[in-house]
Amino acid sequence: MKANLSNPVLMKEIKLRFRSPKSFVGILFYLAAMSLFVIGFIYLMTQDGSSGGYLDPGQSYLLFTMLTYIQLVLVLFITPGLTAGAISSEREKQTLNMLLTTSQTSFQIIIGKLLSSIAFLVLMLVSSLPLYSIVFLYGGVSPKQLLQLLFYFLLTTVAIGSLGVMFSTLIRKTIISMIATYGSVLALLAVTGFLSVFFAVLSQGGASPAAHLFAAINPAVLTASLLAPDSGGFLHEVTNLRWPIWLIYLLFYLVVTATSVFVSVKSLRVNMARGK
């Protein structure tokens, strides 16, 4: 069960993805849009007469917050598109059977597909770091916060990517796999938020573990908690629990990743011993 850089699927997929000019055009447009946003924001803020022609740390932090939410939207909505066709598209292109009769293990194939799919998104995230770093010029944000956010984005990308690969393995059609993956992302964002509020109201001011857990696995809540650590206190007040949000998030998404990869590996090849 090795998954190193000599993974043939990973190397082939990276070659195919980065051979296409579409990938570089995509990164170019993304960075151009981010740059315009950053420059536009700084321009508008420094044109305001009350600012004295400079960006104060509070405004710099606001810029950082906005950039972070843009990145979160990128992670949540591009990852399914990149991963939900990983296996099903091989099936549709009639290349999967030949791949499955090679000596590669199912784990190698799944990990190769997962890593190659998210490699593009990771490149997008990393290439936007210099833009992020502009906020350091104006203060208000620590490098530690930036690194925390980067790790958080990576974790979320891997988890959602694993879900995409799992649906792609289980579902024959890419389009249905995409719908299932986007549906899962929507559930993580909206359904967990709704359930959190629902259980909080139901507890009528008492301790509500369910409300706390549903809030803790919501990416928007953790983003807010990482950007403004005080916001975690608000959640503690509502649910009357002091369980660390980041730890619950970390454990939940690690379990999601491990389960999705396990299911994908088990489902990729048919079980020859089980006659049907």
Partner: protein
């Protein structure tokens, strides 16, 4: 090398394969003939560890597809009837990917790929994108791919389907070379005369059952009952007709005095036929040739499957 024991595959109430028992010895070429949906591809998919049998078992090199699929995969080279290619890879990169997938060290791949491209006559397309190749070239490339790890067994599902006559001839030539390399080959085709040319044995499958399994000649004999034989003579056709009338198993004698030949039906066995030839050669008839007319395998197949074979 290949064996199936009571191999059965059902989809709900439909039985795609029904107690298939088959043995193919090492170095033998076995042709699978059958109409669409007869069970050929189902058998091949089970042998390629892509489809679990409902009951029974299949073995490749002594390894069960049920209990040792990974070992089976190492022994086989599989070419499916329908396949796609990675369109943004070059021919060499395509083969390199599969070589890596079989764990062949990077240092050995360049020479190996060169040899395989040579075998399938694609050396000049080494740097061409796979997507730009013609259908015949893609078929040959897929064949090279199935040979990349030097498998002992080749499972080729309709390797010549959809090819134009020239591409079919090229494919047939490659098959002959593979036969010379002592590969055990299981091949299916709708181009039945092509199977006759290269196979040691042919199995006819119909509605999931193996209804005949013999050498090409035996299958033809089994079907014919009466074979048509034409004798060309230096002497008189009338004398030859008289000679034949006295022989057993001979009927429907037709004489062509102008051409100096006699055509007749023969219902005896192969041995009987050999005895007749020996007697004719020993007679003073002056025989120039003694030839059995080829019966089209399609006719044999249609007769065996009671005319339902859609070929």
């Amino acid at each position: 090398m290949i064996e199936t024991r009571n191999l059965t595959k059902s989809y709900g109430t439909f039985r795609a394969l029904h107690d298939l028992n088959l043995e193919v010895g090492e170095g033998r070429v076995f042709g699978f003939v059958g109409a669409n949906g007869a069970g050929k591809s189902t058998t091949f998919s089970i042998l390629a560890t892509l489809l679990p049998p409902s009951s029974g078992d299949a073995f490749v090199g002594g390894h069960s597809v049920r209990t040792s699929p990974a070992e089976v995969r190492r022994l086989i080279g599989y070419m499916p009837d329908f396949f796609g290619v990675y369109d943004q890879l070059k021919t060499e990169e395509y083969l390199d990917f599969y070589a890596a997938s079989y764990g062949i060290p990077a240092g050995e791949r360049t020479v190996l790929i060169g040899q395989l491209l040579d075998l399938v006559n694609l050396s000049e397309k080494r740097d061409a994108y796979v997507d730009s190749l013609s259908r015949g070239m893609k078929q040959r490339l897929c064949l090279a791919r199935s040979l990349i790890h030097d498998p002992k067994v080749l499972i080729l599902d309709e390797p010549a389907s959809g090819l134009d006559p020239r591409a079919r001839v090229e494919m047939r030539e490659i098959m002959k070379r593979l036969k010379d390399m002592d590969k055990t080959i299981l091949i299916s085709s709708h181009i039945l005369p092509e199977l006759a040319e290269m196979c040691d044995e042919i199995g006819v499958i119909d509605r999931g059952r193996l209804i005949a399994r013999q050498s090409v000649r035996e299958i033809q004999s089994m079907m014919k009952g009466d074979r048509t034989i034409t004798v060309k003579l230096n002497g008189l056709a009338r004398a030859a007709a008289g000679f034949l009338e006295e022989r057993p198993f001979v009927s429907a004698i037709r004489r062509d005095d102008a051409a100096g030949e006699v055509t007749f039906s023969f219902s005896g066995s192969q041995t009987d036929q050999e005895e007749l030839l020996a007697a004719a050669a020993a007679s003073p008839l002056g025989i120039r040739s003694f030839a059995e007319e080829e019966t089209d395998l399609e006719d044999v197949f249609l007769a065996l499957t009671k005319g339902d074979g859609a070929i």
